[in-house]
Amino acid sequence: MAEYSVFSLIKNALNGHKSWQRAWRDPEPKPSYDVVIVGGGGHGLATAFYLAKVHGIRNVAVLEKGWLGGGNTGRNTTIVRSNYMLDDNAHFYEKSMKLWENLSHELNFNVMFSQRGVLNLAHSDGQMDRFARRGNSMRLNGIDAELLDRKEVKRMVPYLNYSDEARFPIYGGLLQPRGGTARHDAVAWGLARGADRLGVDIIQNCEVTGFKRTGNRIEAVETSRGTIGCGKIGFAVAGNTGYLASKLGMKLPIESHVLQAFVSEPLKPLIDHVVTYGAGHFYLSQSDKGGLVFGGDLDMYNSYAQRGNMETIDHVMRGGIAMVPSLSRLRLLRHWGGVMDMSMDGSPIIGKSPIDNLYLNCGWCYGGFKATPGSGWVFAHTIAEDEPHPLNAGLRLDRFERGHILDEEATGPVPGHH
């Protein structure tokens, strides 16, 4: 398959775009695979890609019930960061960040990873102290972080509300300069193309409907396109993990919740960074197309519906205007919802399951997009080696019964609060 480059682009432009090939094949499923990955979102595709690339396991199928990247990969707010405090999260997300930094090259597909900086605003001394603790932990873990005071924040983002009218004044902020955004759909497409080029079969419109079990093993998956045998099987289905697990009689520490996202009408460059409001739930960036992309808090009740309600919308918009008053007259173009697999401590679960050849990758809460390459990388390792990598050893499923909780937000076993 042809490489993408400025030369191929010119060549094709001159010949009328007749020789572009499919970005990925559309194969019929084989009777069985060494590894079947359920879920053709970013995580499933990244897992297949790294299984093939790093571990040489190429007899792999990715089963997607709809269209590639149609879940949260295609409906998130595209933020990439590794500004975590707890070690197990920090090391994992930083690995992901490092993969992001080379991902376009690795895939030969421009995922538009834009390291424009992620700034979290603080609105009290106590919040500044918490940010300091997080930033210091990041530095000690080798992750970039800068603590800005009010003046420095104002210099960087002069358009925030610094007036006396602000209900919650800005005290300062924590900046991760390497954080930023990426073009979410491109990540799915680039990974699909990359995995496909290494021999992975990507099978769309193939819904898993059941499992064939022998003892404590899954022999095959039953799908809308027939039964497909599997040596090993990995779930990367985010909000639908609980549903698939229930078909295996498994209960997980996961609830599905809806998170809404929003985009404004397109505008000339207005916001150059990713900025988050600290006295409410609101975060903001501007896409390359010009739309302001923003989001807020969960709708706070279990949901599998990919749409949310007005109470949360109002809450988000209030936060937005509180942070950036000039948003008031700009217009909301579209809003939608994604189904979040909220784990009970707010951190992901990647590892082995109680079933011998089943591996779990779930519990992403609303942090799954930034984890995409890292998640695939460690999940591929876990599947290939039948053993978690040190980077995901702390993300095991049994941490709940063992009491090794990874509660980054410190809000307890209430999924809606993470």
Binding site: G70, N110, R167, I313, L330, R331, L333, I405, A410
Partner: protein, 1010 residues
């Protein structure tokens, strides 16, 4: 006004809904024009002969007014200026007002000469998704992105604040009717007559919908007469609310319709006290969606030229606005609307030079009428290309069959400045789809119509593909009546449905894309706003982006401000053809709210600025403000941080001086602080002690009346939730206090457990946080002050020991006095009914003046408690256990309590977990910052193993004489006396610290018990 007429060369002298007696001056791109009241900006521009109004998103191609409604892809302008500037505003929906100012967008230096128009020449390189295939090299995407971002975007916004107000309103209705076209008016009429509460919502300045744009009749009279009389009847009904200029933009759960009412957008500025816009949420029992339909463009070579316009829009401009959108017109349509358009344009005095109809054979009476008027009708033909640059100059037409056979047809050039074009109509199924409704394809109209209703909604009229006026009226009358009856209202006899005189129409010919001339590389735009061509769609398909969602995301089809109102179905049709499928098989993308873009301010309403969230005030709030308090936010509360003297400036030095002054006063004389924000819960009933036993880690069965006890609560997972004191003030009566932050959660915690888990307990809880004002008086002189306040009380250590509780009168009103201490001093807390709070506070200060009593704020309070190693939310941070805080021994093993079970898990029970300690700089002077991390070796390379962190610090501790802090350190109790490093790499600092007990002041507690 003669002047207005002269300036409006395209205005028809009679007819239309405009007020010719009310001319309005306005400007576009700095040039002045005149229109009339009743115009939109679009109609006024057309009246003045302005055809070029914008540039397209990607190729910066010249674009004109394309439609007459919310579907407008091209005519987006920057409206108004300064704080009221609104980019991307559709000229087709802006009602003209005096002094209106608009500017074109996405062009430089001017609309006619746009440098970025060079993109158009390079368009073969800027095909769909080109950016995914390049810009990957040195210096990286972020570099290229800078230029791409500047080229992209549409309108320009600035960081200026909005001077206008927004409002929010709730409504409740039996029946909400969305859209006041013929179907909606008819439905509202029959529903309204039944007495049902009806909301009729319409996005225009006045009801009528398409009736305003057509020359139809009802009962033999102009259709608008019927609309006017219907409206008059509706306005008389008290049970009917009509919202004009109101767009129902979203359909939410619970049959809630979200509406944006543009209260003042048609005015130069809102009237005094009036809002700009009002966002409604209307809860309905039934929803009738009379949302009409949108005309589809035809996709042909050069279909984006200014002067190419939807046929229905051309009729609107001619009929409603009395404007000729051109002088010489060609009509190109795949259905009988083409003939209707030709007739209307001819009536308006436009020379119609041909009706191009791809169909062959007879189509019925409309065509006959057109031929009878001598207009050239070319059947079986298509427009294969347009000519002109900044405006249409003419079209080439050719025979369709010849083209489809693969041969090169002869073309004929027709000069014209208006090409009215229509590809049929698509029902507006947006609101239906917002609640996951699945539209189904109707091949008869080549469009998607609503499928099964998931909510209590029903689509009527054109919104469900019933396009004839008669059908719309019948649908409306019937639906209004049936909906009212289903809700139990009586409607009596079926109303007579008025008659119409429509002509029969023939079937349309599906034409998702008009074939191009062989060998011509012209562009056929599917999405006018985002510059997506039919070839882009085919390229995406050939690269495997075959799902409609992939198509949308890869090509940006339908991603513009119009959300693909005119483009989606054509795009999907082209995709279907490329895939060899039927449109019904490729489906549609999901329609998302809002139907048309909504100002963000409308969602915030009045909750902006300092009203973003409620402010909670303590009973002594005004006193604090009047006495130099610098207030700070504590959640929703405002609390004094420190108090400045009368003439002290609010400087950093003065702040430190004030904090030191207050801290010393407490330790040396007396201080008083406002602790009214603490949560307070009244607990009554024989099982009150049992409840306390279950929610606190320590035992409560032995607490005597008149005594208080400190307690710690855990969450069910074993993590500390909150701490506070609870007092027994009667046999079966307790008074619990919580921290300020956890007051709400603790109350909910108690209610949940009592109602769900332990309903057998005979105990009631009630929040009394607002009932009691509370103040802490601390310091060596506090007993003397209390004695002056309460001469009747025995305040000796024996008479009123530490953790004692007394009730007494302060003057004439009741007070509760608690001998508890957060500062480690001899201290009391006094609670009085809130209405007496300020009086009691003033009384304390008056009495205490001679004892050196001063008010102290949160900063001093913080230093005092750190000196004593007392914890706050900085330590109880949602991750620590009771044992981590040094309360391990408090955890009773004789009873069960919330959180005990999961506290025993290995990870929670690990003795190596970080535990509360005190931390003092080894050099005795260097300040330790909160948020520092404790490490063994400050020079170790990352990743550095962490031993814990510094949670609270005081840069000055005037009582101890050096900076102090507390924090959590691994294996803390065994490391007392050791030194570790507190590092703060964010500022490149590392401080060697000695590990101490958390309590570094008056360790024996002599003061407390003094």
């Amino acid at each position: 006004m003669i002047r207005g007429k002269e300036q409006q060369p395209f205005r028809i002298s009679e007819g239309g809904e405009i007020e010719r007696t009310r001319p309005l001056a306005f400007s576009f791109d700095g040039k002045s024009y005149t229109g009339y009241e009743g115009d939109t900006l679009a109609s006024a521009l057309l009246a003045n002969g302005v055809k070029l109004v914008g540039r397209s998103f990607k190729y910066h191609r010249p674009r004109g007014i394309y439609s007459a409604g919310p579907e407008e892809p091209n005519a987006l302008v920057n409206l108004r200026s300064g704080g009221r500037q609104e980019p991307n505003t559709r000229a087709t929906q802006i009602e003209l007002f005096a002094g209106l100012e608009a500017k074109s967008q996405n062009r430089w230096p001017s609309l006619a000469l746009d440098v970025m128009g060079v993109n158009d020449l390079a368009s073969r390189f800027l095909f769909a998704g080109f950016y995914y295939k390049t810009f990957m090299g040195i210096p990286g995407w972020h570099f290229y992105e800078h230029f791409i971002r500047k080229a992209a975007g549409m309108g320009t916004a600035e960081h200026v604040s909005d001077p206008d107000l927004y409002d929010k309103m709730h409504g409740h209705a039996d029946i909400v009717v969305v859209g006041a076209g013929p179907a909606g008016l008819a439905a509202a009429l029959t529903a309204g007559r039944s007495g049902a509460r009806v909301f009729l919502i319409d996005e225009n300045d006045k009801p009528g919908g398409r009736l305003r744009s057509e020359r139809e009749t009802i009962d033999g009279k102009p259709a608008m007469d019927w609309a006017a009389s219907t409206l008059a009847e509706l306005e008389e009904m008290e049970n009917v609310t009509l919202l004009r200029r109101a767009t129902a933009f979203g359909y939410y759960d619970g049959d809630t319709i979200a509406v944006l009412e543009r209260v003042s957008d048609h005015l130069p500025v809102p009237a005094p006290f009036q809002v700009r816009q009002r966002r409604w949420l209307i809860h309905a029992k039934k929803v009738l969606l009379a949302t009409g339909s949108t005309e589809r463009p035809l996709v042909f070579d050069g279909n984006d030229r200014p002067g190419v316009m939807l046929a229905g829009a051309a009729r609107t401009y001619a009929n409603r606005f009395a404007v000729r959108p051109g002088k010489h017109a060609v009509v190109f349509a795949n259905n009988d609307d083409g003939y209707r358009t030709a007739l209307d344009l001819a009536e308006a005095g436009i020379e119609v030079r041909g009706v191009i109809d791809p169909r062959t054979g007879g189509q019925g009476p409309l065509k006959e009428d057109v031929i009878a008027q001598g207009i050239d009708v070319v059947s079986g033909a298509i427009v294969v290309r347009t000519h002109g640059y900044l405006g249409l100059a003419g079209v080439d037409i050719a025979d369709l069959a010849t083209l489809q056979s693969g041969a090169m047809p002869e073309t004929r050039y027709i000069p014209c400045d208006l090409l009215a074009t229509g590809g049929g109509w698509s029902p507006n199924v947006h609101l239906y789809s917002h609640q996951s409704g699945k539209p189904v394809y109707d091949p008869a109209i080549a469009a998607f119509v609503p499928g099964e209703s998931r909510m209590n909604d029903r689509s009527i009229g054109a919104a469900r593909g019933r396009f004839s006026l008669g059908d719309c009226l019948a649908d409306g009358y019937t639906a209004g009546q049936e909906s009212a009856e289903a809700l139990g209202f009586t409607t009596g006899a079926v109303a007579d449905i008025p008659s119409t005189d429509e002509q029969a129409t023939g079937p349309l010919k599906i034409l998702w894309q008009v074939p191009a001339l062989p060998g011509r590389k012209g562009r056929r735009f599917v999405d006018l706003q985002d510059d997506v061509t039919a070839d882009d769609v085919k390229l995406a398909q050939s690269e495997g982006y075959v799902s409609v969602e992939h198509l949308k995301r890869y090509t940006t089809l339908g991603m513009g401000t119009d959300q693909g109102k005119t483009s989606n179905i054509n795009g999907h049709g082209v995709l279907a053809e490329a895939r060899g499928l039927d449109v019904s098989e490729v489906g549609t993308t999901t329609f998302r709210p809002p139907y048309t873009p909504v100002a963000i301010g409308a969602f915030a309403g009045r909750e902006v600025g300092r009203h973003q969230n409620p402010v909670r005030r303590t009973p002594m709030h005004d006193w604090h403000l009047a006495h130099g308090a610098q207030m700070m936010e504590a959640g929703l509360w405002m609390r004094p941080q420190y108090y400045l003297g009368k003439d002290e400036p609010n400087s950093r030095e003065a702040m430190f001086k004030a904090i030191e002054r207050e801290t010393l006063a407490v330790r040396n004389a007396g201080g008083i602080s406002d602790v009214s924000t603490l949560g307070k819960i009244d607990i009554q009933g024989p099982d009150a002690a049992e409840l306390l036993n279950r929610v606190y880690i320590n035992g409560w069965k032995t607490l005597a009346v008149g005594k208080a006890r400190y307690g710690v609560m855990l969450r069910e997972d074993g993590v500390a939730l909150d701490d506070g004191t609870t007092s027994r003030i009667g046999e079966n009566h307790y008074y619990m206090t919580t921290t300020t932050a956890e007051a709400g959660p603790v109350m909910e915690h108690l209610e949940l457990h009592l109602q769900v888990h332990w309903p057998d307990l005979d105990v009631k809880v009630a929040s009394v946080s607002d009932e009691w004002a509370a103040m802490a008086i601390a310091g060596p002189n506090s007993r003397a002050i209390l004695q002056d306040l309460f001469p009747q009380l025995d305040l000796s250590n024996e008479g009123f020991p530490f953790m004692g509780v007394r009730e007494a009168k302060l003057g004439t009103f009741p007070a509760r006095i608690f001998r508890i201490s957060f500062s480690g001093e001899l201290a009391y807390e006094i609670a009085v009914p809130a209405g007496y709070g300020e009086a009691a506070w003033e009384r304390c200060l008056a009495v205490g003046e001679s004892h050196g009593l001063v008010p102290y704020g949160l900063e001093a309070l913080n230093i005092l408690r750190i000196e004593k190693g007392h914890v706050t939310v900085a330590e109880i941070d949602g991750r620590v256990s009771a044992a981590d805080l040094g309360f391990g021994k408090m955890m009773s093993s004789k009873k069960r309590f919330v959180g005990d079970a999961l506290s025993t898990r290995e990870g929670m029970d690990d003795p190596g977990r970080p535990t509360l300690v005190g931390l003092t700089p080894v050099d005795g002077t260097t300040r330790i910052r909160a948020g520092s991390i404790l490490v063994e070796d400050p020079k170790a390379p990352p990743p550095v193993p962490k031993l814990g962190h510094v949670s609270s610090t005081a840069p000055i501790s005037p009582n101890v004489g050096h900076p102090i802090s507390i924090g959590l350190l691994k294996d803390g109790p065994n490391r007392i006396g050791d030194t570790v490093w507190a590092v703060f790499p964010l500022k490149g600092e590392a401080v060697q610290v000695k590990v101490t007990s958390p309590n570094v002041f008056d360790v024996e507690g002599a003061r407390l018990h003094g």
